[in-house]
């Protein structure tokens, strides 16, 4: 078990390192004047030469990388040319709202999606299964931005019950905050919910096919006991990994949802920066997003190791 933890930690660190390398290379090697990484203004040749020296763009790539990575490790992600503020400050200001939104969506997806999958598997072929499966299958086909737009039309304009945009901290005005979050959270939660329902169903069905379930039946145990103790416990193990997989999806979805609902979060920051070619923010944002994903995968794997006795006791 200890060796498992250590191995996973090392893997995470290596992955993060490689991500920095990839991001660095992608940013430097793609077409275009490398100076545009640092500024969006039009420059005179002299200004350009000055800036190149200042940012060390004439140095060999390896030197550039080491100086960049040492900044990053100290928390310095550069300065945004379009907004004139340090990137880490911009991200820190906005990340909280995204995490708030994202966590709500993830929780909603889990508490609706997983039980739906379990019900569908245990009532296979009956109407509960058909309904849940159909809902889940359609759920993974819905474009998030479109759903947002349609919901805005229905609830904000037609029925006038919800605000069409904006974000308020729940600490400031809980009621307004909730109203503003209902639509974005539902939009963001739909795909994870549907995906989890589908995967839970197939995981449970896979477990139901196993020999040890046949043994459980042969022991004359009640259906409820079998489901609760034998099926669900085994079936949930792969689902944990799946929950981890939802984190990058939610980050991706947040970009869209925050744009549609004008929520000033991390996702919208990335979006705006992409449009204005603010590469410093994009670069920093990619690093932060990837770090979140790696961390969540690590947490998930550790949980997995803790729950599956085959890993715990080897």
């Amino acid at each position: 078990m200890i060796s498992y933890i250590i191995r996973r930690l090392i893997q995470a660190v290596v992955t993060l390192f490689l991500i920095t390398v990839i991001v660095f290379l992608v940013m430097r090697l793609l077409p275009g004047d490398p100076i545009t990484l640092y500024t969006t203004e039009v420059l005179t040749p002299q200004q350009r030469a000055e800036l190149i020296e200042m940012y060390g763009l004439d140095q060999p790539l390896l030197i550039q990388y080491t100086s960049w990575i040492s900044d990053v490790l100290r928390g310095d992600l550069g300065m945004s040319p379009t907004q004139g503020r340090p990137v880490n400050e911009l991200i820190a200001r906005n990340l909280g709202r995204t995490i708030h939104l994202g966590s709500l969506a993830l929780v909603l997806g889990i508490i609706l999606g997983i039980p739906a999958g379990i019900v569908a598997a245990t009532r296979r072929g009956k109407w509960q299964d058909t309904a849940a499966t159909l809902f889940a299958n359609i759920g993974i086909c819905v474009p998030i931005f479109w759903l947002g737009v349609m919901m805005i039309y229905l609830f904000a304009f037609y029925l006038r019950v919800l605000p069409s945009h904006g974000y308020t901290s729940p600490l400031v005005d809980f009621g307004l905050s909730t109203k503003q979050l209902i639509m974005p959270v539902i939009c963001l939660a739909l795909f994870p919910m549907a995906s989890l329902a589908r995967q839970t169903r197939s995981s449970m069905l896979e477990v139901l096919r196993q020999d040890y379930i046949r043994t459980a039946w042969a022991k004359g145990l009640s259906e409820r006991l079998i489901i609760r103790r034998h099926v669900v416990k085994n079936g949930l193990i792969p689902i944990i990994t799946l929950i981890g997989l939802q984190v990058p999806r939610i980050i991706s979805g947040a970009v869209i949802v925050e744009t549609v609902f004008s929520i000033p979060g991390f996702g919208r920051l990335l979006m705006v920066s992409a449009l204005s070619k603010d590469y410093q923010v994009i670069q920093g944002g990619v690093l932060v997003a990837a770090t979140l994903v790696v961390l969540s995968n690590l947490v998930v794997d550790l949980c997995y190791g803790w729950i599956d006795p085959r890993i715990q006791y080897t």
């Binding site: 043994t215 004359g220 085994n234």
Partner: protein, 328 residues
């Protein structure tokens, strides 16, 4: 003479995308108290399915028990639905079954202790403490070393042989009248095989349980079973005492089986004679004898007549063949 279990004309079918499979096509047998019976046949002949049908463990959309009676202690079990409390109390409580693959037949996320005690808590209404004590006792009885410690172990920490012992312990935990062992030794090595079979015989004697060994391995039943049923393509083709069948096999299939197995008591240099051909697919079978294509004793009659019924030849020995194979 009252039978503990009498199965009469059991028929189980499966609807598959390739057609209707008559996995069990009119199987009848009986068991008495304290007997050890062998059900022998190759893969796909329906022997496992027949036992699963007794306990109604057949997955029911593709499968269906369409006919027959399973009379246990005077009561036809097929009258009860598969999920009924009556069947549930029979399973594990009165008739227990152990399966072939010890690797996958135990739940990997529960300790052995939990898997042992849940049966006793369920059937015998014991509390956790008493059940745990009993579980340790059972593990000792099946010669599991360090039973008290192993109670908290997970299946993956045990070897195949030990897992099979756990399965046996589990099966016997509620003192069933019948233990069905479906290919209990196929997945373990030869030495462990012998140990497990000895163990099962001991248990049978100690608990006065009847034992049904389902296997394709004649060697296994030769030593331990008192009576044999030979199965082919969903039906019983020969039945009798073990001694009798080994000494005077009557059905061509049985003869073929015995000829293809090496024996210590036969002259050196005798060639092993495999049975020609392949086992039949059980879909859309013709009404004639299923062994016909591979039979060395076939006569004209076999081509036209339907598969023969089991006929008494002598003593308790039955066979389903038109030909008197003693003449060849």
């Amino acid at each position: 003479m009252t039978f503990l279990l009498k199965v009469d004309n059991l028929k189980t079918r499966f609807k598959t995308e390739l057609g209707l499979v008559k996995a069990v096509d009119g199987v009848s047998y009986y068991m008495r108290e304290g007997e050890i019976i062998g059900l022998v046949g190759e893969s796909g002949c329906g022997k496992s399915v027949s036992q699963l049908s007794v306990l109604q463990l057949i997955p029911t959309p593709p499968g269906e028990i369409v006919d027959g009676e399973v009379v246990f202690e005077g009561c036809d079990l097929l009258k009860f639905s598969a999920n009924s409390p009556e069947m549930r109390s029979i399973r594990g409580g009165k008739i227990a079954m152990i399966f072939q693959e010890p690797m996958t037949s135990l739940n990997p996320v529960l300790t052995i202790g939990q898997q042992l005690t849940e049966m006793m808590e369920s059937h015998l209404n014991m509390n956790r403490e008493a059940a745990t004590k009993q579980a340790i006792e059972l593990l000792n009885r099946v010669s599991m070393p360090e039973a008290a410690r192993r109670i908290a172990a997970y299946p993956h920490q045990l070897s195949g042989g030990m897992r099979q012992r756990v399965m046996i312990a589990m099966a016997l935990s509620c003192n069933p009248k019948i233990l069905i062992a479906d290919e209990p030794t196929t997945a373990v090595d030869v030495t462990t095989q012998a140990q497990l079979l000895e163990l099962m015989r001991e248990m049978v004697v100690h608990f006065n349980t009847s034992l049904m060994i389902v296997t394709h391995n004649l060697g296994v039943v030769a030593r331990y079973a008192q009576r044999l049923y030979i199965m082919y393509a969903g039906r019983i083709v020969e039945s009798g005492t073990t001694k009798d069948i080994f000494a005077n096999p009557r059905h061509p299939y049985t003869i073929g089986l015995l000829a293809s197995v090496p024996r210590l008591d036969e002259p050196r240099g005798r060639k092993l004679v495999p049975i020609d051909g392949l086992p039949p697919t059980l879909i859309n079978m013709p009404p004639t004898c299923a062994f016909l294509p591979r039979c060395a004793y076939r006569v004209e009659k076999c081509q036209h007549e339907p598969w023969p019924e089991l006929k008494l030849t002598d003593g308790q020995h039955y066979t389903s063949c038109y030909v008197d194979t003693r003449e060849k």
